[in-house]
Every structure is written in C-alpha cells, then in structure tokens.
Symmetry: C2
Subunit: 171 residues, 2 copies
C-alpha cells in the first residue's frame, strides 16, 4: 500500500477493534444476520437461532447499547417489544456480506443456498469489492495511503467534475 502507513500504535484511541468485538462475537453476529432476515421479536430470535434465553438477552442489550439495534415497544401493546436495526446497524451489511462471501469462497461452511439477489432483477449481487471513485474495481495492491492535505490538493484539480459528490459521500 505505498510508503505512507497508517498510525498503527494508537490502539488505545482506535475504537474499531472493540466495535468489531461487539459485532464479530459469534452470537451477536447470528442475531444481526437474523435481524437482516426480518426477525424482530425476542421469541423469534430464540426459536430461529437455538440460543439460550440469557445469552440472547445479553447480546441484544449490548447491540442496543452500541446503537446497532433499537428496542421499541409496539404502539398497540406496549408489553410487546420489537428489536430493529438502526441506520448504524443497517450500515454493517456491506461488511457482513463481504465476510459471508469470503467464507463461501474459502469453504467456511457458509450455506450457498439461498442466494442473495437484487430484488429488481432477481440476479445474485456482485462480490463486495474495492472500487475507485469512478467505479473501477481495484485490487489490494493498487492502493496507497495519502496525507489528507495532499488529497485535498488533488481534489482541487478536479473542480467542476462529477467526482466531488461521490467523495463527499466518504465523509
């Protein structure tokens, strides 16, 4: 990835590993998968996952605490609670699908049926990949780190072209 490196020794400041532990823990990951599959109720998760009641309760609480899921009483019966993915939770889907495809490719025992498709045309989604700002697929060896100030300069020379709106989506 070029000569510039990420600062790697700031583990204490980087919240990513701990966020990853929340989502990557075995049962949390299965709960998220179930939520993406449209399950909303405690008893549904319990039945579908074959998970112990106390573990399910603990993991749901952690996901809620991290803002990945939200806990909402139903308006017509406030004793009934729904668990739904927040926007922050929904935004985990590309990472989860990338992991799933990786598992499928390397025989981690991910079931290959059913197949995840685009509902518009019914065809399987593309592999999750790394794309340049203009949509080109790029490989792990075609990447480099740049100092933010330097990237700013490069952007300057792209004024008035269609690149900018896509870049703003990165922020």
């Amino acid at each position: 990835m070029g000569h510039l490196r990420e600062p790697l020794n700031d583990m204490q400041n980087c919240g990513l590993p701990s966020a990853l532990e929340v989502m990557g823990e075995r049962w949390s990951f299965m709960i998220l998968r179930a939520a993406f599959n449209g399950l909303h109720h405690f008893e549904e998760f319990l039945g579908a996952l074959g998970i112990a009641r106390n573990i399910l309760s603990n993991r749901l609480a952690r996901l809620v605490e991290h803002g990945i899921m939200k806990r909402e009483p139903l308006p017509d019966d406030r004793r009934k609670i729904e668990y739904r993915l927040t926007e922050k939770g929904l935004d985990l889907l590309p990472a989860m699908l990338a992991l799933r495809q990786w598992g499928e490719k390397y025989g981690a025992g991910v079931p290959s049926n059913p197949v995840l498709c685009d509902e518009r045309d019914g065809l399987p989604i593309a592999p999750i990949g790394i794309h340049a700002h203009d949509g080109r697929l790029i490989g792990p060896k075609e990447l480099e780190w740049r100092d933010a100030s330097e990237v700013g300069k490069t952007l300057g020379s792209y004024d008035d072209c269609e690149v900018k709106p896509q870049l703003s989506a990165l922020r």
Copy 2:
C-alpha cells in the same frame, strides 16, 4: 430481504462465526492491518503495535493456522522469518475496509488521516457498498433471498449476455 430466509439454526455447521472470531479478535485485527500496511517481520509488528511478545506470537500462529497469513524463512538467511498475507488473507480487505469506513462514519475513533487512495489517480476509494451484477449500488432493503434453483432459471433467460462471467466470480 423478502420472504425466503437463510437457514439460521445451523450454527453448528456454519464456520463463519469462528472465522470471524479469528479475524475480529482485537490483536489479530491489528496484526492484519499492519500486514496490509506492508509489515512482514515479527520485530516490526512488535514495534509498531505495542503488543506483548507472547500475544503477538500466539496471534500470528493462529492466523497462519487459518491460512490467512503464511510464515516463510528468507532464502538468504533462513533464521529470518517473514509473515505475509496469503490470497485468503488479502481477500479479507473488502470486509476490513467496510468495517473501517463504518467506524469512521460512526465515530469509533478511526483516524481519518491518512486517506486510502487508488494509486492510479490518487483519489480516495469509494465507500464499500453492495452492487448489483451490473454495478448499480443497491440498499439493504432492495435485497431478497432466492432459491439457487430459481436463480438458475433466471440465468437461463440471460444466456449469451455479459452477465454470466460476473456471476461465476461469485462462486
């Protein structure tokens, strides 16, 4: 994601959560990040990550055991060992970058400088997203599960078009 669901109760058969635990564990994740940043030697990891010697040794062994990194004596001095990402390891990059961007978006303390760029044009990469077979970006609510046999049928009607090679990349 439509009416069909993944089979969710086959935890015992699904190797994804355990694969995820290997990669998602705090130190393993930092070692992978360092490897993607071009670090190869035990002493380099030690210095850059501020990790204890025994933990580094243990995590490197686990990554090698899972085929994510390989351990190679240097040809000119076989006492010197290099750790490098395998193809299986390199293929984790889209998932890792998706998590990183998620962390940046939700303030998990991911440093936003330096910026990961395409070395060809020096511009920041696009957000990792879910794309249809033809490259369209699709959202988490535009997905559906289809039975593999049904997808086969749909493909039949797409014979002789450019869609097929891309689909084969999914397998």
